[in-house]
C-alpha cells in the first residue's frame, strides 16, 4: 500500500470555508477598527474618574455606550469587557435595579450581552452580582432582550 493512504490530513480541511455559497457577513470598514481601540482607551480614563467619584451609574452608561461590536481585534473587545465587568462588580445588589432603570433600550440590550459574556468566564466575585444584573435586565428588557443577545451577529 502506498504511504499516502495513512494520511488523515484531509479531515482537517474546513470544507465550510471552501463552500462558495456559504453566507459571509458584510465586511466592516477598516476605519472603524482603529478608532475602536482608541475609544476603549479613552473610555477607561473616563470610567476611572467617574467610579473614583462614586458615580457608578454614569460610569455604567459610558461603558455601555457604543460597544466595539464591529471590531475584528479580539484584544479590544476583551479590554472593553474587562472594563464593563469592573463597573458591574462595583455595584451593590440593592443599587442594581435603579441603575438598570436609568438605561435606555439599546443600553439594556448591550448590558445583557455583557452579562452573558460574563457568565461565559465566571470568577469568584462576578457570578453573584452578574445574576442580580441578569434578573434586573430581564425585568427591564424582557425575553426579547435575551433573544437579541443570542441572535445578534455583532457580539461583544
Amino acid at each position: 500500500m502506498s504511504k499516502s493512504t495513512l494520511s488523515t490530513e484531509f479531515r482537517k480541511v474546513d470544507v465550510d470555508e471552501l463552500d462558495e455559497e456559504a453566507y459571509r457577513d458584510e465586511p466592516e470598514s477598516s476605519g472603524a477598527q482603529e478608532s475602536a481601540g482608541d475609544q476603549v482607551a479613552s473610555r477607561t480614563e473616563e470610567v476611572k474618574r467617574l467610579t473614583q467619584n462614586g458615580n457608578n451609574t454614569e460610569a455604567l452608561k459610558v461603558v455601555l455606550e457604543d460597544p466595539p461590536v464591529s471590531c475584528k481585534d479580539k484584544a479590544v473587545k476583551e479590554q472593553n469587557f474587562n472594563l464593563v465587568l469592573d463597573v458591574l462588580t462595583r455595584f451593590r445588589a440593592a443599587d442594581v435595579e435603579k441603575a438598570v432603570g436609568s438605561l435606555n433600550c439599546s443600553q439594556v440590550d448591550t448590558l445583557m450581552k455583557y452579562v452573558y459574556r460574563g457568565f461565559a468566564s465566571p470568577t469568584e466575585n462576578s457570578c453573584g452580582i452578574l445574576l442580580v444584573w441578569h434578573e434586573k435586565a430581564l425585568a427591564a428588557g424582557g425575553l426579547g432582550c435575551i433573544v437579541r443577545t443570542l441572535t445578534d451577529r455583532k457580539s461583544v
Partner: protein, 369 residues
C-alpha cells in the same frame, strides 16, 4: 370566543382556505395535504392528496380558479385542480436544487411565487402553448434561504423575507403574460428580478414573515431578533421596534394601520402603525384563562411538594388558546382593506379562527382601526 379546531396531535406546517371558506387545506407535518370540509357542523377530512415525496412546506388556494398550489421539501410544486371527483396534480418545474419553503398566488392569480432554500424565488406562470407551468428565477441579491413571500396588490411586486436578515421588494413583472406596470412608490423601473428596495433592521434575526398593507404602500416584517418593522414607502420612514417578547413567526396587515403578529409566545398580538409612523403595541389578542383548579387536599399538597417541589397542581398547559408556537396567520374574512377575521395554525396541531368583532367586545378598549 375564537373557534378552536384540534386537528392533529402533531404540528401543522401550513394551511389555506378556499374562496368561500367552506373548505381548508393543511399539511400535518408530513408529505400529505389534507382537505377538510364541514360535515354536520364539524370539520372532517374530505380528501388526502399524496404526491409530494417529502414534507409539504407551503400551500395557497386561489379563490377564482379554485386551484390549490403546494410546494414541498422535495424541491417540487404541484398545482392541483378539482375535476368534480378528485384533485389532479400537475407538476411545476421549479428548477431549484433545495427545498421549497413558501408559496403564494398573486392577487390576480395568474402567477405564483415560490421561495426556496436555493436562495431563489421562482415566479411561475402558465404557458398556454405548451400547457404547463414555467418558472423564472429571482436570484440576486438573495444570499440565504427565502422564508416568506408576499405579493403587492398591483400583482407586479413581491416582498421577500430571507434568513440573511434582510427584507427586500422585487419586481415580478412577467412580460410574457402581462402588460407593463405603472410606477408605484416602490420605484419606476420594474424589469423582472430587479430589487426595488432592501431593508435591514440591524439585528441579525432571520426575517420570518413579510406583509404588504392593503394599499401596498407599507411593508411590515418580523425578525427572529424579536423585532417588528413597518416601512412606509410614501415618506421613506422605517419604524422598528425591538420588543421584549419572544420572536414572531408570522405577521399580517388587517387594515392599513393594524398588524396582527404571532409566534413563539403562542398568542396573537395587535400592533398599530399610525399616520405619524409610530409603531406601537396595542394588546394581546388572547383572553382565555386557565381552567380553575379545584381545592387541593393537604395530602395532595405534600405529595406535590415531594414530587415536584411545588404545592400547586401539576399543570403543563398554557394559559392561551394555542398550546405551542403559532406558525402562520391567514386572512379569513372581510375585505383586504379591512379584515374581520383571521386564522392561525400552530405546532400544537390546532387551527384557530379569530373574529375581530368578538375580540373587540371581549377586550375592553380594543379597536381594529
Amino acid at each position: 370566543m375564537p373557534e378552536v379546531n384540534e386537528l392533529v396531535t402533531g404540528a401543522i406546517s401550513c394551511h389555506c382556505w378556499n374562496g368561500d371558506r367552506t373548505k381548508f387545506a393543511m399539511c400535518p407535518n408530513n408529505n400529505e395535504v389534507h382537505i377538510y370540509t364541514k360535515k354536520g357542523g364539524k370539520w372532517e377530512v374530505e380528501h388526502i392528496l399524496k404526491e409530494h415525496g417529502q414534507r409539504v412546506t407551503g400551500m395557497d388556494w386561489s379563490t377564482k380558479s379554485n386551484s390549490l398550489v403546494t410546494c414541498g421539501a422535495d424541491r417540487n410544486a404541484y398545482v392541483w385542480v378539482f375535476n368534480g371527483k378528485e384533485w389532479k396534480p400537475s407538476l411545476v418545474i421549479l428548477r431549484i436544487n433545495r427545498a421549497a419553503t413558501f408559496v403564494k398566488w398573486s392577487p390576480l392569480e395568474n402567477k405564483f411565487a415560490v421561495g426556496s432554500g436555493a436562495r431563489v424565488v421562482s415566479i411561475c406562470y402558465f404557458e398556454e402553448e405548451n400547457d404547463w407551468w414555467v418558472s423564472k428565477h429571482i436570484k440576486k441579491p438573495l444570499r440565504s434561504t427565502v422564508l416568506s413571500v408576499d405579493w403587492h396588490p398591483n400583482n407586479y411586486l413581491i416582498a421577500v423575507g430571507t434568513s440573511d436578515f434582510k427584507a427586500r421588494v422585487f419586481s415580478a413583472y412577467v412580460k410574457e403574460i402581462e402588460s407593463k406596470p405603472e410606477a408605484t412608490c416602490w420605484g419606476k423601473k420594474m424589469t423582472f428580478g430587479s430589487c426595488m428596495a432592501e431593508f435591514y433592521s440591524g439585528g441579525g434575526g432571520w426575517v420570518h414573515d413579510v406583509s404588504f398593507s392593503p394599499s401596498g404602500n407599507k411593508l411590515a416584517y418580523v425578525g427572529h431578533d424579536s423585532s417588528i418593522t413597518v416601512v412606509n414607502q410614501t415618506n421613506d420612514k422605517v419604524a422598528t421596534v425591538k420588543h421584549s417578547y419572544l420572536p414572531y413567526l408570522a405577521c399580517q396587515f388587517l387594515t392599513e394601520s393594524s398588524i396582527v403578529a404571532a409566534g413563539y409566545d403562542c398568542y396573537p398580538v395587535l400592533w398599530s402603525h399610525d399616520d405619524n409612523d409610530q409603531l406601537t403595541y396595542i394588546n394581546k389578542l388572547d383572553q382565555s384563562e386557565k381552567k380553575a383548579s379545584g381545592q387541593l387536599s393537604a395530602m395532595e399538597k405534600f405529595r406535590g411538594l415531594d414530587k415536584r417541589a411545588s404545592a400547586g397542581q401539576s399543570d403543563t398547559s398554557l394559559e392561551c388558546t394555542h398550546q405551542n408556537a403559532i406558525v402562520q396567520i391567514c386572512l379569513y374574512s372581510g375585505s383586504k382593506e379591512s379584515a374581520t377575521g383571521f386564522s392561525t395554525i400552530g405546532v400544537d396541531g390546532r387551527l384557530v379562527v379569530w373574529s375581530c368583532k368578538s375580540l373587540e367586545t371581549s377586550i375592553a378598549g380594543l379597536r381594529f382601526t
